[in-house]
């Protein structure tokens, strides 16, 4: 049996990954296996006691203490991993496909992949989403080591959208957009950057932030100087894993006729997906 193995990970959102793996399994007529690897970090110390004193039975006491810490951490990680796998399995089942094999292993992803490659047809994994765009200079280490190690094809999915830039100019359209966003489950859980461009921050910026925060978003309000048509595409280019969210066509037709539409310009210039709220 040669599996299509989807390497699930808490950091890379698994929706697209799972879909791609299901698709590949269907095309290859291969069974699907969902793998989650629990990575211990023995190179890091979980506790530090700088007293430098060792008493009777110090070794045994320290061993007991360290094992207990490891045990607690491993139990939590196992529980979380199992839940993630089961949620993914439920999604596969909901799509009407045969139940996938579920694998929960300790170790490093690359090592585990090496052990499993003999009965693997294709590895599917996502690049980890990273908080800062500068990190794009380096390939995700997990990914790179796995690709170097295994002798099987690897299907790599780019990191998913992990934040949303919400353009906010204080206009009624923008306020409505914020309300819609707060009420919708679409972007729930993603960190938001509430971006206002222009001379000074619109008076409602704070209120909009509060509204979004009340809806459970982590919101960072930003004020940039310049023209929205230039600044917003630039911000988006700096954060290629973002959504751009804006309320559309708020201004009068006459203004659009003279100045052109900010929305149209942004749609034309943006390198990231744009969510237009009408």
């Amino acid at each position: 049996m040669s599996f299509v193995r989807a390497c699930l990970d808490a950091k890379s959102h698994s929706t697209a990954l799972l879909e791609a793996a299901q698709w590949a399994a269907q095309r290859l007529q291969a069974p699907l296996s969902l793998l989650h690897v629990l990575e211990p970090h023995p190179e890091r110390a979980p506790l530090a006691d700088y007293s430098g004193a060792i008493g009777l039975g110090a070794q045994e006491a320290l061993l007991g203490e360290l094992s207990e810490l490891d045990r607690r951490r491993a139990t939590l990680a196992q529980e979380a991993g199992r839940q993630m796998l089961q949620a993914a399995a439920a999604r596969v089942a909901a799509a009407g496909q045969p139940a996938p094999e579920l694998l929960l292993r300790h170790g490093e992803l690359a090592e585990v992949a090496l052990e499993l490659q003999s009965d693997t047809r294709l590895f599917v994994l996502g690049e980890h989403a990273r908080p800062r765009p500068t990190h794009r200079l380096h390939l995700d280490q997990h990914l790179e080591r796995l690709v170097r190690a295994v002798e099987r094809p690897v299907l790599v999915l780019p990191g998913e959208r992990f934040q949303a830039l919400v353009a906010f100019d204080g206009s009624p359209t923008a306020l409505r957009a914020v309300q819609r966003l707060a009420a919708s489950p679409l972007l729930q859980g993603l960190p938001l950057r509430l971006v206002s461009v222009g001379g000074s921050a619109p008076a409602d910026l704070g209120q909009a932030q509060q509204q979004l925060e009340a809806a459970g978003f982590a919101v960072q309000a930003e004020q940039h100087t310049g023209e929205p048509e230039q600044v917003l595409p630039r911000l988006a280019a700096e954060a290629p894993q973002a959504w751009l969210v804006m309320g559309a066509y708020g201004h009068s037709r006459i203004r659009q006729l003279v100045l052109g539409s900010a929305t149209s310009t942004l749609l034309r210039l943006s390198t990231v997906p744009v969510l237009v709220l009408r």
Partner: protein, 492 residues
């Protein structure tokens, strides 16, 4: 080694390693001084050794997070060499120790550690603790009450200060407080400065000043061999302890070679031979040290502290060092081995106590471990020798006796094997089925021959069946046993 693993070993735990390295360096200074005094050399010899051992092993060793420096186990071995031939011969012996260890490492002798049982390791550790404690006694005999008071105060600070705060190493507080007290009260007690020369500069490269001839080799070789063995033994055992504590693995052959390189380097800068330290490694792990950086930083800090604070270091009263060393000895001692004495099988306890007794008696850890390994081998042979059963049955007409041998026949059980047969019984035919027995050595085969011969003399006709299967184990071609199913075949 791949780059990723190396990176993790150096930079996986930077903050923890830096702080732990500092804590370890502070505890290393009194130890290095104390062990120099045991060996009968100036404190600077031990301090230079601790610096170079730690720094070199951080780079060349196979067990990240383990601390190597000048140690008591090694110091005890070199006492007579220093006394009879002087420091230069010690430096030459250190060089030779390093070279021997490199050879041992390249020959992959680290794997021989599998013959050293847990009981021997425990015995070694306990003997080491006792020896470190005993080495402090000269500082505590024929001295005034002030020294006792100071030592007691030092121990009190070491063990009670952590209840106040764990942010400052309590051995450091002890040293500072006791040094301050002795200066303020102008106590007339021995200080580190009285014990010999301290480092006044960074170490420099130097060749041992000895005649290069056969006589020299004859003098230093026995010491170097013992030092090499003791050093590797303690290093391998410490590596095991660190492995257990951190739940990670280590590269033993690399560690052997690394110890060799470190000792060679140490010999060239005028330091005494050293090895891994159990107490310090435990302190390092406890303080949050995990990577190579912790060992490196410990060595570096030690040198910086000693070279720049030299005048202050010489003012440290010996009582403070004694207190720190008593703590190290208590912390090294395996308390579990005493507490669980009743749970353990008596043979393990005998092995443990024998290792301790021989080591403490001879001051030579290699001899102690040798006796321990020998004893545990004997006990094991005895135990396996018990795994032998001989069933017998008589034919209906009482003319034929059938013996069925199941189990292990070798030198330790051959006598029981022979004794199980009843030669007094008058039967016409004897059949011995050894198909489910294992004949491990020549002793077993000759025992069988003896049995057959005896029966023939009594007038019985003897047949033996299953000898081929039984003597399959006799062939020393272990490669055959590595194949899948080999163990099942043995258990037939």
């Amino acid at each position: 080694m791949n780059l990723h693993a190396l990176r993790l070993q150096w930079l996986g735990n930077v903050r923890g390693d830096l702080l732990a390295g500092l804590v370890v360096a502070l505890a290393l200074i009194p130890e290095a001084i104390a062990f120099s005094i045991i060996a009968g050399v100036d404190p600077k010899v031990g301090l230079y050794a601790s610096f170079s051992m730690a720094v070199v092993i951080a780079i060349a060793g196979g067990r990240p997070g383990m601390i190597s420096a000048a140690t008591g186990a090694m110091a005890l071995v070199m006492v007579t060499l220093v006394k009879e031939h002087g420091l230069q011969y010690l430096l030459a012996a250190t060089l030779l120790t390093g070279l021997l260890q490199i050879v041992f490492g390249l020959l992959k002798l680290g794997s021989l550690m599998r013959f050293v049982s847990r009981s021997v390791v425990t015995g070694f550790v306990n003997a080491l603790a006792i020896l470190i404690f005993m080495a402090q006694l000269p500082e505590l005999t024929n001295v005034g009450w002030q020294v006792y008071a100071m030592t007691a105060l030092g121990l009190a600070i070491i063990y009670l200060f952590p209840y106040l705060t764990k942010a400052v190493p309590s051995p450091l507080v002890t040293i500072v407080v006791l040094t301050g007290l002795s200066l303020v009260l102008e106590l007339d007690i021995r200080t580190v400065g009285d014990m010999g020369q301290l480092p006044d500069s960074l170490p420099a490269f130097l060749l041992p000043d000895i005649p290069l001839n056969w006589r020299t080799v004859q003098i230093i070789f026995p010491y170097a061999l013992t030092l090499a063995v003791v050093g590797l033994l303690e290093s391998m055992m410490t590596a095991q302890i660190v492995d257990d504590l951190t739940d990670t693995g280590s590269d033993r052959d690399q560690e052997c070679v690394g110890q060799g390189i470190a000792n060679t380097a140490t010999g060239f800068i005028g330091g005494m031979a050293g090895c891994a330290m159990i107490g310090q490694s435990v302190i390092n792990v406890k303080s949050g040290g995990r990577g190579r950086l912790s060992t490196f930083v410990a060595g570096l800090f030690l040198l910086i502290l000693v070279v720049f604070l030299g005048p202050w270091v010489s003012q440290i009263p010996m009582a403070a060092l004694v207190a720190v060393m008593i703590m190290v000895s208590i912390g090294t001692f395996s308390w579990d081995s005493i507490r669980k004495l009743r749970e353990h099988p008596p043979s393990s306890s005998v092995v443990m106590f024998a290792t301790v007794a021989v080591t403490v008696g001879t001051h030579d850890l290699a001899k102690g471990v040798f006796v321990g390994v020998l004893l545990s081998g004997l006990f094991f042979a005895h135990k396996v020798g018990q795994v032998l059963r001989i069933d017998r049955s008589l034919s209906a007409d009482a003319r034929e006796r059938h013996y069925r041998v199941v189990g292990q026949v070798f030198f330790a059980s051959a006598e029981r094997f022979v004794a199980a047969f009843d030669f007094k019984e008058a039967v016409e035919r004897v059949h011995i089925d050894v198909g489910r027995a294992h004949f491990w050595d020549i002793t077993a085969i000759s025992a069988l021959d003896k049995v057959v011969l005896k029966f023939r003399r009594e007038g019985a006709e003897v047949t033996v069946s299953g000898l081929n299967e039984a003597s399959a184990t006799l062939v020393d071609r272990f490669a055959v046993h590595d194949k899948p199913g080999a163990v099942e075949n043995l258990m037939h």
